[in-house]
């Protein structure tokens, strides 16, 4: 191996790293600034709409690992009443197949991803935990009806606008939020 | 001159004391229970990507560069002669330069011989 380039290759590379030294870092300081995540995010929790769910059980069948535990009994007018709707979020792979299969739009993927827990038990989400609420919002994955309520995703591609200004990453609280379904 | 080296000696003593304290400190802290942890047989096995070590560790090592080591010792010895010359170069003048020239040319001869014999080629 000859040194045919007399070290110019090394110099070029070093020039490039030097150039990067003066570029703005692309880091998002996560707990302080948050990225607007994709509207179709398959977050780490499912969102369940109790009033829409008929307890048909399609979702449990669609799940590739039987992750949703559904216990129902028949109420009046032979409607199913859901006693237990449990999701083991420590096992769920958030593939979204259950959401896709639900014929009544009663299940959606969640937006939240800050779900780290100290104990395994806490990962099993009960019906109350899954039910939609103000801070438990569905994403638009397979539910295009929620599309408009969610803010635009912040893309690294558009990291900078025309003037070279760095795009602000909004804190979660300041984002435009829908009121849920 | 001895005073100067006395300072170096004091620095040496301080440095040794200082560096010995550093690993001793955790031992002390462990004695009074501030550092957790107890021995277990797995912990003291040597780390090899989580697998077991096969065979001896300190084996005879095929040190293909022993050749370089030999050359290094000899050349290092040659450079010793250069120091006294370097500080005297102006006083010694051309005579010194010639003497050193001889040293360096001999060095070059040895070096070229080594190169030609493929000693600098590490297969």
């Amino acid at each position: 191996m000859k040194f045919e380039r007399y070290g110019t290759g090394i110099v070029k590379g070093m020039a490039l790293t030097l150039k990067h030294l003066f570029r703005a870092p692309i880091t998002v300081q996560y707990p302080d600034e948050k990225l607007n995540i994709s509207r179709r995010t398959r977050g780490n929790e499912l969102v369940w709409f109790p009033e829409k769910c008929t307890g048909c059980g399609t979702c449990t069948k669609a799940c590739l690992q039987g992750n949703i535990i559904l216990v129902t009994h028949r109420g009046e007018e032979s409607k199913f009443i859901v006693d237990k709707f449990e999701l083991d979020s420590g096992r769920c792979i958030f593939c979204g197949l259950c959401v896709e299969s639900c014929p009544y739009n009663a299940l959606a993927m969640g937006l939240s991803y800050e779900c780290a827990k100290y104990s395994r038990k806490d990962l099993v989400l009960s019906k109350e935990r899954l039910a939609v609420s103000n801070d438990h919002q569905p994403s638009a994955y397979y539910r295009p009806q929620f599309d408009d309520q969610l803010p635009d995703q912040s893309l690294l591609l558009y990291d900078r606008d025309k003037g070279g200004q760095k795009l602000k990453f909004l804190p979660l609280s300041k984002r435009k939020r829908g009121s849920g379904a | 001159m001895l005073e100067q080296y006395g300072y170096v000696g004091i620095l040496l003593i301080v440095a040794i004391l200082f560096t010995i304290t550093i690993p001793m400190l955790p031992m002390l802290l462990k004695r009074i229970g501030l550092i957790p942890g107890k021995k277990n047989p797995t912990k003291v096995q040597s780390y090899e990507c989580g697998m077991q070590t096969v065979g001896k560790t300190r084996v005879q090592y095929n040190f293909r560069y022993y050749f370089f080591a030999v050359l290094f010792v000899l050349l290092d010895m040659l450079t010793i002669f250069l120091y006294p010359w370097a500080v005297n170069v102006k006083e010694l003048g051309a005579g010194g330069l010639v003497a050193v020239g001889i040293i360096l040319s001999l060095l070059t001869v040895g070096y070229l011989y080594a190169w030609r014999k493929g000693a600098l080629q590490w297969k």
Partner: protein
């Protein structure tokens, strides 16, 4: 308190020399023999430099000699170890016994 003079340095040198000599005579591992040789050469150097310091403090003759001794030591180690490698290649051993018969 004793005073440090030429005698003390020379005695130190003699002691080291004799330890080295004992080692050279008794060790069976060639590498250790070489190590003991180094001890002896070092002992000699101490004596030389002590002489240089006390007898010829201006001309530094002893120090010049010490440098030459070092040169010899380096050459000796280099060649010695080269020979060890060569013998080792054939005999797979560093026992001094194998070096007694210098025909391989």
């Amino acid at each position: 308190m004793f005073s440090v003079g030429l005698d003390q340095y020379l005695i130190l040198s003699a002691v080291l020399f004799c330890i080295g000599l004992f080692g050279v005579l008794t060790q069976r591992n060639v590498i250790k023999v070489i190590m003991c040789l180094e001890i002896m050469l070092n002992a000699v150097n101490i004596a030389l430099i002590a002489f240089s310091q006390y007898i010829t403090p201006v001309t530094l003759t002893g120090q010049v000699f010490a440098i030459f001794v070092m040169v010899v030591a380096a050459a000796e180690v280099a060649v010695g170890i080269a020979i060890i490698f060569t013998v080792y290649r054939n005999r797979e051993s560093v026992d001094i016994e194998n070096f007694n018969i210098l025909k391989w």
